[in-house]
């Protein structure tokens, strides 16, 4: 190994330091975050004292000692088997349909979101929406009226996903007061926006050679998307789809708190009846459901990667 003189080595180190990976502007953002958080405490809106007050402690003790225990188990709170038997009884009881409804809402929502995203995706793909896709010389690429199409499509995606699912569902309940459509549509709209954006980014990063050769044969934009871009990106799109499936299921359980039948509805109902033990049982069932969905999604995504689809 050749040895560089000391000052040259220092220069090299400085150069490397300048080129190190970093997130620029991160410092300012972090400072803003700290200031905003501090302003919450300084204005007296957030008080640590609220967390530790005497009254609060008494409430918490009462909650843990009495309210959180099922009446059937008050005597044998530390009997694990009795607990398990009780939980199994609740989870297989007549109200357990809420868990199946949560699952169905999550699945239907993510399928609809995927369908919407497939329709919206090509329009948001900047490489596809040009006058002569994949054949334009680089200097004229991204000019002309076609440029507006992906812009509008992407803005639409932002609007869809800007509104949290819970708020979409709340608004949709005003239009469809019965049934599960508000929950399904809310999840589908929000996640459709997300999937369309992610999918469009994937299509843009695809290998341009297959679409270019199709274009040279005279194919239109739709055929290019279906025959050249879609198959190439299928694995990656599938990864995103299952990743959103996890979140859809998570949100499907809570969205019921607005009064749509799902686990969330059972949670608030138990709370309203002052049955905190049942409330905890439903929350636990929800987290089991979410963990199971995470596992399924993890396995599917691993299989997709192993198959070499992505």
């Amino acid at each position: 190994m050749t040895r560089l003189p000391a000052d040259l080595r220092l220069d090299r180190i400085r150069c490397l330091r300048r080129e190190r990976p970093r997130l620029r502007g991160a410092g300012w953002t972090a400072a803003g975050v700290v200031l905003l958080a501090l302003s919450g405490f300084a204005s007296g809106e957030l008080r640590f004292g609220d967390l530790l007050s005497e009254r609060r402690g008494a409430l918490l003790r009462d909650f843990l000692r009495n309210e959180a225990l099922p009446p059937e188990l008050r005597g044998e709170a530390f009997h694990v088997l009795a607990w398990l038997r009780w939980l199994a009884g609740v989870w297989t009881g007549p109200e357990a349909g809420g868990a199946i409804a949560s699952l169905a809402i999550g699945v239907l929502a993510v399928v609809l979101a995927g369908a919407a995203a497939v329709l919206l995706m090509p329009a948001a793909t900047r490489t596809l929406m040009t006058r002569d896709p994949f054949l334009e010389p680089p200097e004229s690429a991204g000019r002309g009226a076609w440029r507006a199409v992906p812009r509008v499509a992407r803005l639409f995606c932002v609007l869809l996903r800007a509104i949290p699912e819970y708020i979409w569902a709340f608004l949709l309940l005003g239009i469809f007061p019965h049934g599960a459509w508000p929950a399904v549509l809310a999840l589908a709209l929000h996640n459709g926006g997300i999937l369309a954006r992610l999918g469009a980014d994937t299509l843009e990063n695809a290998d341009p050679r297959p679409p270019r050769s199709l274009r040279m044969l005279g194919a239109g934009r739709g055929s290019i998307a279906l025959a050249a871009l879609g198959p190439q990106c299928f694995g990656r799109l599938l990864l995103y789809f299952f990743y959103r499936f996890e979140t859809c299921l998570r949100e499907a359980t809570v969205i019921g708190m607005l009064g749509i039948l799902s686990l969330g509805h059972l949670v608030v109902e138990a709370r309203a009846r002052d049955r905190q033990d049942l409330m905890i049982a439903w929350i636990l069932l929800g987290s089991l459901l979410v963990l199971a969905a995470d596992l399924v999604s993890h396995l599917v995504r691993r299989a997709v990667r192993r198959q070499g689809l992505s």
Partner: protein, 292 residues
């Protein structure tokens, strides 16, 4: 060789996957008893929708309620700004709180904390015998924190000791701690091992290898994910308003229930603006992030 028509048309793995997804969707629709016909609004739903969307053209700049317009203790714009500030402040406080747990749990859950890429003992070598127990326990804890939604934590807290701004922040912080710890531990393990190996060969101690070889390579990714979680926390902080905390969700809910649709649109436009701002900002952060 003659290929049967069925074989030629038989779907491949991708086709089967798509068919499976479609079937799952139909099954779910059947289980919920939903059909497209239920999408036709009934019982005045259509009229409500029309009124709602017409209000989009003229968002409210003052209270819609005439009594409130006369007697309100503060102008409408101030009410809006206060709710916006609370939304941001609560989300920021929650993310700051979850950073600590995210770091601590993330380190303990990552494999690179316990051993280096060659399989030699890493920073956690003093407690090496405890590794399986600690790592499994921490991963279980992370899974538990993540699997309970922030709104469910909020309901749980409001049942246990009442929901106040600080408890709302805690409800937000718990699942985000789990998210940060999980993703950060994966990022630490996936960071390029070259610098760590070089430091090791120069005779650095395991903690030095971890802190100066492993962590800096993962840090930009970790920061980017942290900012993404901040965006999610801001959205969740809005929604927590539905449970009585004074964020934007509370305003939206009140206005909608009082059929003040123009006020609803004002809040919605504010949400759009906020999300657009965050998206462009985080997009700029990521684009300016240069990899050597």
């Amino acid at each position: 060789m003659r290929v049967s028509r069925w074989r030629a048309a038989r779907p491949g793995p991708a086709g089967w996957t798509l068919l499976g997804i479609l079937a799952a969707g139909l099954l779910a629709a059947a289980a919920l008893g939903l059909g497209p016909r239920d999408l036709l609004p009934r019982e005045g739903g259509g009229a409500t929708a029309l009124r709602f969307f017409r209000a989009a053209l003229e968002p409210a700049l003052d209270y819609e309620d005439p009594v409130l317009r006369e007697r309100a203790s503060q102008p409408y714009v101030l009410t809006l700004l206060l709710a916006l500030w609370r939304t941001l402040a609560f989300a920021c406080a929650a993310i700051l709180a979850s950073l600590w747990g995210g770091f601590g749990l993330g380190f303990l859950a990552s494999s690179s904390w316990w051993e280096d890429e060659a399989g030699d003992p890493g920073t956690g070598r003093l407690f090496r015998g405890l590794r399986p127990a600690v790592q499994a326990g921490v991963r279980l804890l992370i899974g538990l924190l993540r699997s309970v939604h922030e709104l469910l934590w909020a309901v749980l807290f409001s049942a246990a000791f009442g929901l106040q701004p600080i408890t709302a922040v805690l409800a937000l912080a718990l699942p985000y701690t789990g998210n940060l710890a999980k993703i950060w531990s994966e990022m630490l393990d996936e960071a390029p091992a070259g610098p760590a190996r070089a430091l090791r060969q120069l005779g650095a101690r395991p903690l030095q290898v971890f802190l100066f070889g492993r962590l800096p390579r993962a840090l930009p990714d970790m920061a980017a994910y942290g900012f993404y979680q901040l965006e999610c926390a801001i959205r969740s902080s809005m929604v927590l308003g539905f449970f009585g905390v004074g964020t934007l969700g509370l305003l939206l809910r009140q206005s909608f229930l009082e059929v003040h649709f123009r006020e609803v649109w004002t809040v919605l436009y504010l949400v759009f603006a906020l999300v657009l701002l965050m998206e462009t900002w985080s997009g700029r952060l990521r684009r300016r992030w240069r990899l050597a």
